[in-house]
């Protein structure tokens, strides 16, 4: 019987000819990523179990990207970055460390990883962050783990996993100009629920998906965790391969589904039947459509994060905000320093995106996770009271962006930008003729 791409990657990393869904196997790890929130705990677990003077299993495979609590006065948060610095020095991990305050600083880990060439087809990536699944867009197995598992990998270079069955989601028809990957994934999550893919792989296919650029594919895979998924994955094509080759010289192995691979379920959607989609408070599966929520007044708009703070997201926002004025405070947070540079260098009708956003009255912050997960009180864009925010981020659980009294609506950059111009939830088709 044929295997799916996820099963094949796992089998190869377990040194086996085949695996079946449900089987527990030990697999070798190609990259372990951690950041400032879970890094210190991971290091603690590693030292406690492998010894104070132990070395990480492979220096070239441990990547440390501080991104969560960077621009804050919080002393505990700053101490965490100091712990990472110390460890990097001890272990000689400088090549794969991106220190805040230095020219090497990057920003949000899931966007920084591919920029730095650490996401490659056919590999196994674990990260101490649930959105590590983003990297499935590069045709690899990527998933989030906790400190204990990460501490284990740090010393042993392997981990046990239960082989997930694959759910396949096919989008037929190219994406209409008013839709973005965020609409597709919110549509799916609304359909299957926020535990609809628990313990399973989610694979995306169809011309609606293969027409997307690499960043949009990352947005799709980023949110599989919001449906409970273990990993998201897209079979590599030229778009994937060209991107990866532009970022690394390391060889990689393109893995595809076998003919006759068996899927737990296959769901087919027609992109022409989907319209701009929103997740209402307080769960990513609480689906609505923008055009039916036009009574809802917002007090703030937020464009940023690993899922909604990439160049494609800002180009989309700029297409709507150009020459207009935001009616509510609007916060722009580039995911990484590379994206920040892109905002200054990418032009539309002679003006940089940065200038377009400034002219519209938006506040532009430095690259990091910022208010996507609330964070310390002084975090840029944090919801410190009963705000109603429309956001391109990926979670809207109670208190996710700060105050428990706030409400968060999730939507595409088009929809968020359109809503910022009216102060109400707005279908972006109004501005995209």
């Amino acid at each position: 019987m044929g295997m799916t791409i996820t099963e094949k990657i796992l089998a190869q990393h377990a040194g086996r000819d085949s695996v079946s869904p449900g089987e527990n196997i030990w697999i070798d790890v190609d990259v372990l990523m951690t950041h400032d929130v879970c890094g210190p705990g991971t290091i603690g677990v590693f030292k406690k179990n492998f010894g104070e003077n132990a070395n990480v299993w492979d220096k070239s495979k441990v990547v440390i990207i501080p991104d969560h609590y960077i621009f804050t006065k919080d002393t505990y948060a700053n101490r965490n970055v100091e712990i990472l610095r110390q460890f990097v020095k001890e272990q000689g991990l400088e090549n794969n460390y991106f220190d805040p305050g230095s020219p090497r600083y990057k920003g949000v880990c899931h966007v920084a990883l591919p920029e730095e060439g650490h996401t490659r087809p056919g590999e196994v990536l674990f990260g101490t962050d649930s959105h590590t699944c983003t990297a499935g867009a590069f045709g690899e197995f990527a998933t989030g783990i906790g400190n204990t598992d990460a501490g284990f990998i740090m010393g042993a270079g392997k981990l046990w996993v239960k082989t997930p069955p694959t759910m396949r989601f096919v989008f037929e028809g190219e994406l209409p100009p008013y839709l973005m990957a965020k609409d597709l994934i919110l549509h799916i999550i609304g359909d299957i629920g926020c535990d609809g893919a628990t313990y399973r792989a989610m694979e995306f296919a169809g011309d609606g998906v293969y027409g997307l650029n690499i960043e949009e594919r990352m947005t799709l895979c980023n949110m599989v965790i919001e449906a409970g998924g273990k990993n998201g994955v897209i079979e590599p094509d030229d778009v994937t391969i060209d991107f990866v080759k532009s970022r690394t010289d390391k060889p990689f192995n393109v893995v595809r589904n076998d003919p006759g691979a068996s899927f737990f379920v296959e769901k087919v959607y027609k992109t022409s039947e989907i319209i701009p989609t929103v997740a209402k408070p307080h769960s990513p599966d609480n689906r609505g459509v923008a055009q039916e929520l036009s009574d809802i007044k917002i007090t703030r708009a937020y464009i940023g994060s690993c899922t909604g703070g990439k160049m494609t997201d800002f180009k989309a926002a700029a297409a709507i905000l150009e020459g207009q004025t935001c009616q509510v405070p609007t916060f722009i947070v580039p995911a990484t320093t590379e994206v920040e540079k892109g905002l200054k260098e990418t032009k539309r009708n002679g003006k940089s995106l940065y200038e377009i956003f400034e002219a519209a009255g938006a506040h532009i912050g430095p690259p990091s996770c910022a208010a996507c997960l609330g964070g310390p009180e002084d975090t840029f864009g944090r919801l410190n009271g009963p705000e109603v925010c429309i956001s391109t981020t990926n979670r809207n659980f109670p208190g996710r962006m700060g105050s428990k009294d706030s409400q968060v609506f999730l939507a595409s950059p088009y929809t968020v930008a359109a809503s910022s111009l009216t102060g109400k939830i707005t279908d972006p088709r109004k501005y995209l003729s």
Partner: protein
């Protein structure tokens, strides 16, 4: 691993995500510092909206203000318990506050794994919804061997799903002691 877990129940609803279990701005305290790590106990479940905290009545704090230990040892949830982020601080915080087990209809994968691999608490699954049949404060007894949960006052019992694969890891203590016993490290 104890064979019998007995204590008061703290009841919650569906989709309790890790931001509700331990809000993100608290993730900065040291996990391996005895004194500082008590803060995780202090703020365990502090992100649950008041009306949903300690069902069916609500407005019951899991940990009293200024304390770091809870009087509740067993948490009863609904479906998709522990969804959201991969923070291991979530089962850690519940453990720190004194919880020994969670009983829920289903779990998010990473929370489940972290609970077991870190040896923080036992995540029991139920075949049916039970968070509407138990009230916060009820005295509960879990028999690990026979996979049953009993309401002590009424003697009513509910079946739990057998622990399966994870039982060996829980018995060893955590994934490290398990791997050592299995000769893997």
């Amino acid at each position: 691993m104890e064979d019998i877990i007995r204590g008061k129940a703290f009841v919650l609803g569906d989709d309790i995500d890790t931001d509700q279990i331990i809000p993100a701005h608290h993730l900065v305290y040291k996990l391996d510092d005895g004194e500082e790590s008590k803060k995780y106990g202090e703020f365990a479940l502090s992100g649950v909206p008041e009306s949903q905290s300690g069902l069916p009545q609500g407005k019951i704090p899991f940990v009293e203000k200024g304390e770091w230990q809870s009087e509740y040892k067993i948490i009863i949830g609904g479906k998709n318990f522990g969804c959201g982020s991969s923070r291991e601080h979530a089962p850690y915080a519940l453990n720190k506050a004194g919880a020994a087990a969670v009983v829920a209809q289903s779990y998010a994968r990473i929370f489940f794994r972290n609970s077991v691999n870190g040896g923080y608490l036992i995540p029991f699954e139920t075949a049916n919804k039970i968070n509407d049949q138990i009230a916060t404060g009820d005295e509960i007894e879990i028999d690990v061997k026979s996979s049953t949960l009993k309401k002590v006052e009424t003697g009513e019992t509910f079946p739990l799903q057998p622990l399966g694969d994870i039982e060996e890891i829980l018995k060893s203590g955590n994934i490290f002691s398990y791997a050592k016993e299995a000769g893997m490290m």
